[in-house]
């Protein structure tokens, strides 16, 4: 639902207030004055942030808006009356601005929603050539970081508060002394970036200060893809994988669905290749070879468990098989010796190779970022031999980064060669490899200038700590994975006067233009021309059309480079006593950057369903072998055995959790947790896996030893029961079964009880006749990969609170949409385990069981088929939840929105258990909570800084629920109503009041990169949702209860290779087999003829 924003105001315009003639003339002197006057005032206000200070700050930043140092911020009306309203602004109507979220070497194009001047929701930019509007979970959650009360809010010198101007003076000082000696002794440590402006500044820096050094460090580094491609083809290129165009995909330790860069693009493309509309359609086949159970493995048709150290050998085996079949072995030297060490994988690899060779030019082999360069090169050799290069994988020109590594920097620091160390973002003290000993190294710099989003472990005691502006507060630019240039537009002035990376670099380089806006404007002139109209269009559209990097054709494999790398592949098979330790990017907090983000902390890991911490994952067999197995207890507040994990003389401690389907003797450690200095959300969360990492073995190492301590640790997960118990909840078939029995999904239907005329006719039925729309949803389980973006999108859109670890363990998480994850197959036969996902949300039953049991009429049906929840009327009997067969209703057991996490965690008192503080006795900010409640009932028990900031993130169109109230998915009622109103306004006197299909999307649908969720008017047979529901695969969950849900699912199709040998073979999915066994029924027999099995038609009735 994008409203076309007016062109972004150019810096020269703004509200017509002025305070001096200088201001009107907009001289540099005035600019400097205003820049220094007010924000410095703000920075002088030391923490904690009080409401008064906050408002001061806001008004101070408003003044900046007047002179247009930033473009899009408009005045907040509680500071100045809107005597002159900005053009195109209607009070209460959100506005959308195009921006982008930068990631490591890429970016996610976004449309940011702004409500009364504050960004409240992020959505993908569907107009971007490489986007369908989907995003990943990180982008959805990143908006919460903007309003994080624990973020860096001050300028600090030697750990103490300082003023902004002093900080800027210090930067100028550094610039001056650097100018004097050509930058000698000046080193930069930055994160990766795709910003053309940063690239330009870096060049400028290199020219002006030739002696200055530039280093980059990312704890999770995807640059190896570029490095390998560049090496394989002898030219700086980066690969772009087209998963949608591949009929056969082999993922070698590559979690391209969950753990690589540009997830939203990968998922979109992968899902596109898997989606079928009718039985005759084809779909891609995915083979996964991986040590951990990842989302990619969960979505694979065949999966081979293999330790990371054997992936190289398996790749070699695959390569030799492929070369045999294609006869195109360009490599000198034999792969055989290497391939021999891949014992046990022969059959799997042979069939993979056959399948690949049969799909020349339509297949794809991808290797994950954790694998060494040689394995990547080998994969390039395979792709090359299969003729995939240029077909399913495109190589695009790119610039090789000119940066040293953190180890080199540490060496140089150790040698005393660094006087001034500038750290731009990142948190190396926390996440640098252990052997770098960064903390000591950093202390050796004479002075450290650190630009950081948090005052965290790296926050310097010797030098300057500068607050980093959030990307929604700063001007910037970036390139998406296809190379398209996108703008990063601020939607709000820096809340705490933070600086951007570009500004700091520009200042130190001593450039004339230091304002980020000017920097990127200048960069744009080079890329997109000096024309103002181009610039406006660039900002408006959110990308520069045609700026994608050129695909390079006709490149040939540099087989010599590949051959020479082969010797570098080592095969190490782990054993029980020498475990392989794998360090992986976490599905929730990434490398730790989101550890203080409550939405992501509470997002259950898509595979383990663990929340609020990382655990030590082992395969079921290994856990049993080591005597640390934990029986599935069925309790979400399960306890994991507490163990010590030793590797090369270093050790960490954490709880063990058995993960079905993980490779044996492999230990998986998620990065990003175990922070020592962090905010209120991230503290006491997990262990720090980086402590075991070394530069040599950054991604996996063998030789780990696990020592059980006999102690246990409470963990909180949202789903512990993994088996579907043979129930037809998720329905699956293989592509062959689907082709033979297109309507198989209804073959799973269970017998329905006879329906009699009710004493109480369903109130919906008469209402339906007068309604214009009938809303419904369809979810394609073949497309859904379980990435969980929808969960965060829903949380952001609908003001869904977080509840904390302890409350999760009591099954009180509030997510309106959850992803149910089931393991199917025998847990002891881990090779054949399959993982299936199902988004579960309010089904909006036409005959809703929740409605007739509510004694106060708080949940009712509207004429358009929505099961609506009236919060104001709810007294909280919770009967509706008990009677909801899908258990999608969520109850506010506490004032989750208005109580700090510590209060929700409670205190653990021996003998009693948890004791939650009562507001009658608790205190906040030194004042009794009872008194605070008396003074202002809406304020809650939150400390002021949290309260003031967190209320800004709320969607004003959705009420914030108080305690004692039931809540649930509303199908984004606010979006439906907005669309209806808009259509009515548009219709005017005409009768054209039916909202056209596709005008708006629900938050989950919008965020879904796989386009698995479709929402719309089921009364309109031409709507997308009606078309989906008319598909053969359509079915209702728990159809036999006659609840007539408006949310229906499309059964999942697997595409196994019939030639695959045991134990990887199957002719019917595990879940279907379990269903057949449990119910003594065969869904493929006569499913079509069953009367009750007919798929729902467009009208949405049953």
């Amino acid at each position: 639902m994008k409203t076309i924003p007016p062109p972004c105001p150019t810096p020269e315009t703004g509200p017509k207030y002025w305070r001096s003639l200088d201001q009107v003339s907009d001289t540099p002197a005035f600019r400097q004055w205003i820049e220094r006057e007010f924000p410095s005032g703000a920075s002088e206000m030391s923490d904690p942030v009080t409401r008064r200070n906050f408002v001061k700050l806001m008004s101070a930043s408003f003044l900046l808006a007047g002179v247009g140092l930033t473009g899009c911020r408009r005045p907040t009306e509680n500071i100045y009356p809107f005597s002159k309203m900005p053009e195109g602004y209607t009070h209460g109507l959100p506005k959308f601005y195009a921006t982008a979220m930068p990631s490591r070497r890429s970016a996610i194009p976004l449309l940011a929603k702004s409500d009364d001047g504050r960004p409240t929701k992020l959505e993908g930019n569907p107009q971007h050539p490489d986007s369908n509007g989907g995003t990943d979970r990180f982008a959805q959650a990143s908006i919460l970081n903007l309003y994080d009360p624990d973020r860096s809010i001050r300028f600090a010198k030697n750990g103490g508060p300082a003023t902004r101007e002093a900080a800027l003076d210090a930067l100028d000082q550094v610039a001056k002394s650097a100018q004097a000696n050509g930058g000698k002794g000046l080193s930069f440590l930055a994160e990766q970036s795709s910003s053309p402006s940063r690239e330009r500044l870096q060049q400028a820096l290199a020219t002006k200060l030739p002696q200055a050094k530039w280093y980059e460090y990312e704890p999770v580094d995807f640059d190896i893809h570029r490095e390998a491609a560049s090496k394989a083809f002898g030219r700086p290129v980066s690969p772009y994988f087209k998963f949608d165009e591949a009929a056969v995909i082999v993922a070698l330790d590559s979690d391209f669905i969950g753990g690589e860069e540009d997830l939203h693009v990968n998922i979109r493309r992968f899902a596109k290749g898997r989606r079928t509309q009718q039985a005759a359609d084809s779909m891609s086949r995915l083979y996964a070879v991986e040590p951990l159970m990842t989302l990619t493995g969960a979505n694979a048709d065949h999966r081979l468990r293999a330790a990371s150290g054997t992936i190289g050998a398996i790749t070699a085996l695959l390569a030799s098989e492929v070369f045999k079949l294609t006869g195109a072995n360009a490599l000198s030297g034999s792969l055989d010796s290497l391939a021999k060490s891949a014992a046990g994988a022969e059959k799997f690899a042979t069939e993979c190779a056959k399948d690949l060779a049969a799909n020349k030019g339509k297949s794809l082999v991808v290797v994950g970022h954790r694998q060494p360069l040689a394995v990547h090169l080998l994969a390039w050799a395979i792709n090359s031999a299969l003729g995939n290069v240029g077909q399913t994988v495109v190589l695009r020109d790119t610039a090789a980064p000119k940066a040293g590594s953190i180890a080199e920097l540490a060496q140089s620091l150790g040698a005393g060669a660094v006087d001034t160390l500038v750290i731009l973002g990142g948190n190396p003290v926390y996440n640098a490899p252990a052997d770098v000993q960064w903390e000591q190294a950093q202390a050796k710099a004479k002075s450290v200038i650190r630009l950081g989003y948090y005052e965290d472990e790296t926050f310097p005691k010797n030098g300057w700590g500068l607050p980093l502006a959030h990307y929604l507060e700063s001007w910037g630019d970036a390139r998406t994975s296809d190379g398209t240039v996108v703008p990063i537009q601020p939607l709000i002035e820096p809340l705490f006067g933070g600086l951007t990376e570009l500004e700091v670099i520009a200042r130190i380089a001593g450039l004339d233009k230091t304002a980020p806006y000017e920097i990127i404007r200048e960069t744009f002139t080079a890329v997109g021309g000096g024309n103002d109209e181009n610039w406006k269009k660039f900002l408006h559209d959110g990308f520069l059309a045609g700026s994608a990097a050129k695909a390079v054709g006709g490149l040939t494999l540099d087989s010599a480079a590949v051959s020479s790398a082969l010797s570098g592949i080592e095969t190490v098979s782990p054993t029980k006593d020498k475990l392989e330790v794998v360090f992986h990017r976490d599905y929730r907090v990434d490398d730790g950057r989101y550890v203080n983000n409550g939405w992501l902390q509470e997002l259950p890991d898509p595979v383990t369903k663990m929340t609020w911490e990382n655990v030590i994952l082992l395969s079921v067999k290994t856990a049993k072998d080591l005597g640390v197995y934990l029986e599935n207890t069925g309790n979400n507040d399960a306890r994991g055995p507490w163990v010590k994990l030793q590797l090369d003389g270093r050790e960490i401690e954490g709880p063990v959790w058995p993960q079905p389907g993980q490779a044996d003797n492999v230990v998986a450690l998620a990065l990003g947790y175990g922070r020592t200095v962090t905010g209120r959300v991230g503290k006491n969360s997990g262990y720090n896996a980086a402590k075991l990492r070394t530069t040599k073995a950054l991604h996996f190492a063998t030789g780990g030893k696990l020592v059980a301590s006999g102690k246990f640790h409470d963990v909180s997960l949202t789903q512990d029961h993994g088996a579907m118990e043979g129930r037809p909840i998720i329905r699956e078939a293989t592509l062959k079964e689907y082709r033979d029995h297109p309507k198989f999904a209804s073959g799973f239907d269970m017998e329905k009880p006879p329906v009699f005329d009710s004493l109480y006719p369903n109130p919906l039925e008469p209402g339906k006749k007068s309604a214009l729309h009938q809303w419904g949803m369809s979810i394609d389980l073949s497309a859904c990969v379980g990435c969980s973006s929808c969960m965060i999108a829903c949380q952001s859109e609908n003001n869904v609170p977080i509840v904390g670890k302890n409350q999760v363990s009591k099954n009180r998480e509030m997510h309106w949409i959850r992803i149910d994850r089931y393991y199917t197959g025998d847990p002891d036969k881990e090779d054949s385990i399959q993982v299936i996902n199902q988004p579960m949300l309010c089904q909006h039953c036409e005959a809703a069981p929740c409605e007739n049991v509510c004694p106060v009429n708080a949940t009712a049906h509207d004429q358009e088929g929505l099961n609506v929840m009236v919060y104001n009327r709810c007294v909280g009997t919770r009967y509706c939840s008990n009677n909801c067969p899908y258990k999608v209703r969520r109850f506010n057991f506490f004032d989750y929105n208005r109580r700090p996490l510590e209060q929700l965690e409670g205190a653990s008192v021996p003998g009693l258990g948890r004791v939650y503080p009562t507001p009658m006795l608790s205190r906040t900010d030194g004042e009794s909570d009872l008194l605070r409640w008396w003074k202002d009932m809406d304020r809650g028990n939150l400390p002021d800084d949290q309260f003031e900031l967190l209320k800004l993130v709320r969607n004003p169109q959705v009420s914030v629920r108080m305690r004692g109230v039931m809540e649930k998915c509303s199908y984004c009622l606010q979006r439906i109503e907005a669309a209806k109103i808009k259509q009515k306004v548009k219709a005017g006197a005409t009768a054209d009041v039916v909202v056209p299909d596709g005008t708006f999307k629900t938050a989950c649908q919008q965020a879904c990169p796989a386009e698995a969720i479709v929402f719309g008017n089921v009364a309109d047979p031409a709507s997308e949702v009606s078309k989906r529901k008319a598909q053969d695969r359509d079915y209702k969950v728990l159809d036999f209860l006659n609840t007539k849900p408006r949310t229906t699912y499309l059964a999942r199709i697997r595409n196994p290779n019939p030639a695959m040998p045991a134990p990887y073979n199957y002719t019917t999915p595990n879940s279907t087999e379990e269903f057949e066994k449990a119910n003594d029924a065969n869904p493929f027999e006569g499913g079509e003829s069953k009367e009750h099995g007919e798929p729902a038609h467009a009208k949405g009735e049953a």
Partner: protein, 473 residues
């Protein structure tokens, strides 16, 4: 006249058919009055204080727990997905069940001319009222927003919003409040002649005034007695369907839903039987110690206890039959979800609760087949406690076990109570015993007038009936 009647010889029934008298030792009406009124008029016994002080403490704890709950949120209790009802509803149903015996004894047994009811009906009715009070607390405080609890009542309002009359919780509101009102009226009605006795015996002015006030000017005239008997009969007639309806409706909270383990038509009769079972269990638990402590063994005789044991045995067996029938239907229906729930009930994570329930409710009452056990007060007392425990577990199993493994396995969870749950439950005992002990101290715990009427000597045709030479004693 009495002398004339006494002169007609009436043969005693043959030995073996002779029933044990309702009041043993041929006690005279005067002795009965003294014995019952003496409980109130005598010095407060030490055991009373020993019972009362802990009760008051527990009542205070309950009040504290409710304050904590209301100020902090329902989260201080154990519920969470998918078990949204925990101990609150378990305790509600349990207390309501206990509240069944009193009205059953006073109304149904009255209509069925079961004269033995007179010795126990007053105390049982008092127990009912206090148990319903304990029960009534829970539905109110378990809701998320207690301060809006009154929205469940059909009060006309500006928004024209009415309660949802299709909801069983709504029916509960009516059923329980009606039951409570009628029970209180019935109890009070029955008290009037005895209040007058207390008034007439009162030695202080305050007592005289207080009892006199509530005795409503009772003089014991024929007209009073005639009106009283009619009114009592009418109220008994009114109460009888309520005894059956209250727990039937409470059971509909479950059976109207569609959850396997809840959704079953057997619930109304099964719940009523269970309620009577638990009610008699509680009456036994209360009266067996009291008859000794208050020296009322001659009025609450072994025969009374034995009869109550028999009712317990009968209703316990009905309950046992229902347990079996549930399993049969789960198998016979062919519904896999239903079948799963019942297999899980017996063998799943809550097997211990199910085992406790079956042991206490089905196995334990079987001891009452034996007369020797029925007449052993210590054993009966212990068994009656087991009945109470068993019935609590029955409600626990129904509420918690059915919910914890429902339709969608992804959602399954395990319910554990918190310390607040436990203390609140214990606290309601404080309320119950405080009320009951005060009742013992201030109101005649046995219907004086009625007991006199069922003594053998009250029957003019009985050999012992009629006035005796030598006066009262």
């Amino acid at each position: 006249m009495a002398q004339t009647v006494a002169n007609i010889p009436v043969k005693a029934p043959p030995a073996g058919l002779e029933r044990e008298p309702m009041v043993s030792n041929q006690r005279s009406p005067g002795w009965i009055s003294d014995a019952i009124a003496g409980v109130i008029e005598g010095k407060t016994p030490v055991w009373w204080w020993r019972a009362f002080i802990p009760s008051i403490i527990m009542l205070t704890i309950m009040t504290g727990m409710i304050l904590y709950l209301v100020s902090t949120g329902v989260g201080v209790w154990g519920p969470g997905h998918p078990v949204m009802w925990g101990w609150a509803i378990v305790n509600f149903v349990w207390w309501i069940g206990i509240g069944h015996a009193g009205t059953l004894i006073s109304a149904i047994l009255f209509l069925l001319r079961q004269k033995w009811r007179t010795s126990i009906n007053r105390a049982a009715e008092a127990m009912t009222i206090f148990a319903v009070m304990c029960a009534g607390i829970y539905p109110l405080i378990h809701v998320g927003r207690v301060w809006f609890g009154w929205w469940l009542f059909p009060i006309p309002n500006d928004h024209d919003i009415w309660p949802q009359f299709r909801s069983p919780l709504m029916w509960d509101v009516f059923a329980v409040s009606t039951y409570f009102t009628v029970s209180v009226l019935f109890w009070y009605m029955g008290l009037i002649p005895d209040l007058a006795v207390m008034r007439d015996r009162a030695s202080t002015k305050i007592r005289k005034f207080a009892y006199g006030f509530f005795a409503l000017g009772w003089t014991g005239s024929n007209r009073h007695w005639s009106n009283y008997e009619k009114a009592y009969l009418i109220l008994a007639g009114l109460s009888t369907p309520l005894v059956l309806s209250v727990h039937s409706i409470v059971s509909l909270d479950f059976s109207v839903s569609q959850l396997p383990g809840w959704h079953t038509t057997i619930f109304p009769p099964y719940f009523v039987a269970g309620a009577v079972f638990s009610g008699f269990g509680m009456v036994l638990s209360l009266l067996i110690p009291l008859r000794t402590l208050l020296n009322l063994e001659e009025i609450i005789t072994l025969r009374h206890v034995e009869l109550m044991c028999k009712v317990t045995l009968a209703t316990g067996s009905i309950v046992g039959y229902a347990y079996g029938m549930e399993f049969f239907i789960a198998w016979y229906s062919g519904n896999p979800n239903e079948r799963y729930t019942f297999i899980d009930r017996a063998t799943g994570q809550y097997w211990w609760a199910y085992l406790t329930m079956v042991t206490c409710n089905v196995v334990v009452p079987q001891f009452f087949w034996f007369k020797r056990i029925r007449r052993n007060m210590l054993v009966v007392f212990i068994l009656s406690i087991f009945v109470n425990i068993g019935m609590w577990f029955e409600r626990f199993v129904i509420v918690v076990q059915s919910l914890h493994h429902d339709f969608i396995p992804a959602n399954w969870g395990y319910f554990r109570p918190t310390w607040v749950d436990i203390l609140t439950f214990l606290g309601t005992f404080g309320l119950f015993f405080t009320m009951f002990l005060l009742f013992l101290r201030f109101l005649p715990m046995i219907a004086i007038a009625e007991v006199k009427g069922v003594t053998p000597q009250a029957d003019p045709h009985h050999p012992l009936g009629g006035a005796k030479p030598g006066g009262h004693h």
